[in-house]
């Protein structure tokens, strides 16, 4: 009997945990400023004002990140000339691992390196990868947690939407 009561205790404790997910609701706000350490230069996120920016936070060990690279290359190639850019911020603590990844999945867009994770802290990431769409005026408009291949078409529509503004 006491065993059953103990089990009931576990279940009620667990139920409390189950349905208390913290989901980020998103209202447009200025994109927090970032210093971007690219391979051979340092720029600021605000330098890209006037362009639609797909800001992606990734790491070499993150599996969905691997799937996002071919798509990001594709988007860069397709919309790069219309005032769009992907900026991928790498959060590997070891640069070597990021370089290995990039040698296998080359990026045709700017990649910034942030081994300390300061930018991730600033953006309060809730998962990996996380990406943000920033409009031409520098406002954060859309956030995606994770990269879902089946949602690629809708991601692309969002880019088209912001480019058309």
């Amino acid at each position: 009997m006491s065993r059953i009561r103990a089990l009931a205790g576990v279940i009620s404790l667990s139920a409390g945990l189950l349905f208390s997910t913290a989901n980020l609701a998103y209202a447009a706000q200025p994109a927090p400023e970032l210093v971007l350490n690219l391979t051979n230069q340092q720029v600021k996120l605000s330098d890209y004002r006037g362009q639609v920016v797909y800001l992606d936070f990734w790491a070499s060990w993150c599996k969905p990140c691997q799937r996002s690279f071919p798509w990001m290359n594709d988007m860069q190639a397709k919309y790069g000339e219309q005032g769009f850019t992907v900026i991928a911020v790498n959060l590997d603590s070891e640069r070597k691992l990021a370089d290995e990844f990039l040698s296998k999945l080359p990026a045709h867009f700017p990649v910034a390196f942030d081994p300390e994770g300061n930018s991730a802290q600033t953006y309060q990431l809730k998962g990996m990868p996380t990406s943000y769409l920033i409009d031409k005026t520098g406002q954060l408009r859309i956030a995606h947690q994770g990269f879902h291949v089946e949602k690629q078409a809708s991601y692309e529509q969002e880019i088209q939407g912001l480019l058309a503004e």
């Binding site: 790491a59 070891e94 991730a120």
Partner: protein, 74 residues
């Protein structure tokens, strides 16, 4: 027996309380945890083979996850 059970309840409680606070890592700090060899079921084939041997030779089995079936005893 009962004591073990209470320990389990206590652990579940501790985990609930500590949840976001001190335990755990930020999503971008999972480089080491993401390694294949850090998975709890890493080397699954070895674990399966071991389970089969010990299942046949000892009176207790399982605990880690569901074991496959069959006897293959003796």
């Amino acid at each position: 027996m009962k004591r073990k059970f209470l320990a389990f309840v206590a652990l579940a409680g501790v985990l609930q309380l500590s949840g976001c606070a001190s335990l755990g890592v930020q999503p971008w700090e999972r480089d080491l945890l993401a390694k294949d060899e850090m998975a709890l079921g890493a080397e699954g084939v070895d674990l399966g083979l071991d389970d089969h041997i010990y299942f046949s030779k000892e009176a207790t089995s399982g605990g880690r996850s569901f074991a496959g079936g069959g006897c293959g005893c003796n």
